[in-house]
Amino acid sequence: MSGLLRKRVYLRAVPAERSYDVVIIGGGGHGLATAYYLASRFGIRRVGVFERSYIGSGASGRNTTVLRANYKMPESVAFFKQSFDMYRELSTELDYNLLMSRRGLFWLAHSENSLRLQRERALLNQAFGVDTAFIGPAEVKELCPQVDLSAGGKGHPIIGASYHAPGSVIRHDAVVWGYAAAAMRLGVHVHQGAAVTGITIENGRAVGIETSAGRVSAGVVLSATAGYTSAVAKLAGVRLPLMTHPLQAFVTHAYRPILHRIVASSDMLIYVSQTSRGEILIGAEIERYNTYSTRSTYSFLAECASRAIDLLPFTAKLKILRQWSGLCDMSPDYSPLMGPTEVENFLVSAGWGTWGFKAIPASGVGMAELISRGTAPAAIAPFRIDRFKDDRAIPDRSSAGTH
């Protein structure tokens, strides 16, 4: 049978084994993708994924689903391009419709500084074969007539933009479920509602974990827990260069398709897209203080809605449906942290801040290769955790500013 008539069991609950070759803490996109690639590309199938809540309950289910590769450091452009290319084939590979939809993404510039950044971004992207063009206000209006070029008439009109034509949206829950189901078909165990309470260290190496369901020994322990990475690493006695900040977003009720493009402005700290369901999705920048609280605030909603109306006047008529907040583990240079720690066999895939969702496939396959072969592939090697020690930071804040 095929298509609609096919009945599939996605996540069959299985009791945890006493030991796994690889234990992954965190059942989000990154953890599940790493498990999937370990099983599918590197033949390591005795993998246990431990998720405290339900899969995709953290950042994987709270992000704003944008896929893009328009980064601004050579290492990042190459890495995110690989990720984007993998996303394009992912529905086929996982045999799961991820509803990927190509929209075209603007980064609007309202200042000379921002204009210079967008021009540089376009040039660097083109050098790496990423389709980003530097365009003027007239072209912005032509590609997206809903945009108010005066940005609300408050003295900061749109003076240019970088336009990333491949920019897409995808269904984030489907990515998580697709990876989980595909990994489980290959023999990976995904344990939901299984909190990890300790990491067992013997002679300076990680040998297992303590969970709410008992002790599990492991050849390798990987933390893929985004916002909670510092807390998990602390179980192994590891400190990391991370700060956990909240990021808020909200959606309106569903309306007919009106906004095809993804509109972002790093000067106004806002980005807007329309989901496949029709909701207008609006998000902004992280809050400046660190917290693990995911409560939303009215002040954010009010400020962000006002900026959205300045940029896209039609949004003034829309009704807000719901608002939420997610945790971002921000690294000092706004680039991810991937690789081994000072505790042998304890690895971390973290620093996913506001840019983690679009990195899931490339990070998953990169971490899987690192775990199975012991050396990091060229794509993720520059993102090693201790790069700050020898001044090899990859500063890319301008690419992370909005989503």
Partner: protein
Amino acid sequence: MGFKIDCPHCGPRSYHEFAFGGELRAFAFDRDEDTDYAAVWLRDNAAGVQLERWFHSAGCRRWLNVRRNTSDNTILEVR
């Protein structure tokens, strides 16, 4: 997520009036490279009670030491 900080100079004010100064860290420069690295780059990023700095930028413009529970943003102490 919104909360108030009871400024000892100005009284209870919304956190919007303050600039976050990060977690309180012990600085020990030039001892050795590893200590410097830890002091400059590494953070506890505690999921729980944290000692931290806030600057009352829209008030008395003084630096405050604050004890806050980062899980629910309860302010435990301001000095």
